[in-house]
Symmetry: D2
Subunit: 118 residues, 4 copies
């Protein structure tokens, strides 16, 4: 079921497509709905950390129940990101590789981080 | 620079680590900060769609400037997700494969979708 | 308990301060934690709508359980917004009044909406 | 224009309705779009804080440009929350007052905070 061939991005996208098709969920998987679900899942991951000090946050994987919750929400974020990309025909790995190359020019090594968010 | 070996998740995680290290940004990349940044970037992707009808949203990649913006925000979401996973030692692909298997039991084929969000 | 004097923004801010102080929660109510909680609660409100069609979304208050959930999440969003403003000394009503006036100049009547999000 | 009568929640909701009507933006102000916009604006507020230490976050209003940005994003969050409530007929102040009363029973004074987010 979870052989190595499934543990790459295209394999997981294929499994997600089959999962949704078998349940007739494709009708709900519009780009707008999927991106809303992605942002909701990212917030559920943030929720785990919202009241923690930086030190508590760094130790979050040491407590098994909380570690499982982190992995579960990471899976949800990635699932909706990959389904969003499938529906719109975006290659997420190529998009990230291209962005890293742009950022290597935009933020030369040694620069201060963009604290105000860019 | 962007050879095939980089176009998988571990390769991209390695490039992101090198990128941050070369700029001394590791100090900012705490789990709590990275998950906040992840949720902010997911919302920036949602922002592109917030006023669009479902039909306009489905056609978003047909307009080059907007398509580029979608790819750029997908890259940002994936970048922060992968960096968050690197810092906490989470394997995102294994987490998603495990989640799909759990969901195959939780939502048998033919069930109605969980409209209230689970 | 809920006399009219409490049904304005300063009265509710006072009640929220007393509520947190009685539980010694002030230590968690840093600006950074409160703004994270605000964004998490806004996403929980979004979650109610994420799979709904525009028509289903417009009728969401007709179903009592869902209507209650909407009101509950609206309360959470407002609670964290008001607590965030209390901690930083921001007057939210004055900030909104000033923003409306700026927007009356920025978007003259008759202009098309800023579809790409501004 | 900004007389005292506008500096309460119903007055601001009225001004927001007039503002949208004069620009024919009501067509975009569906509940689903408004709640998406609310969550996007909450994330823009979070973005200001995402790389800051707790100490830097607490001092954010001391720097005028950043203070203005905080007030501007607070206004946006409140604007979309109030417009969402107007469209669905929710009274946000009554919802918050009712929630505080429920929470006074749910979290008796002296209890520990719900660190995992409830």
């Amino acid at each position: 079921m979870s052989t190595d061939q499934h543990l790459d991005v295209p394999g997981l996208q294929q499994r997600l497509r089959e999962f949704a098709a078998a349940r007739d969920w494709g009708q709900y998987h519009t780009p707008k709905n999927l991106v809303a679900a992605l942002s909701v899942e990212a917030s559920e991951l943030l929720e785990i950390f919202q009241w923690l000090t930086p030190e508590q946050a760094a130790a979050v994987m040491e407590e098994p129940a909380r570690a499982h919750r982190v992995e579960d929400e990471v899976a949800d974020v990635l699932a909706y990101l990959l389904q969003f990309c499938s529906v719109l025909g975006v290659d997420p790995l190529a998009a990230l590789a291209a962005k890293i190359e742009r950022n290597e020019h935009r933020f030369p090594a040694g620069a201060t981080p963009p604290l105000d968010g860019v």
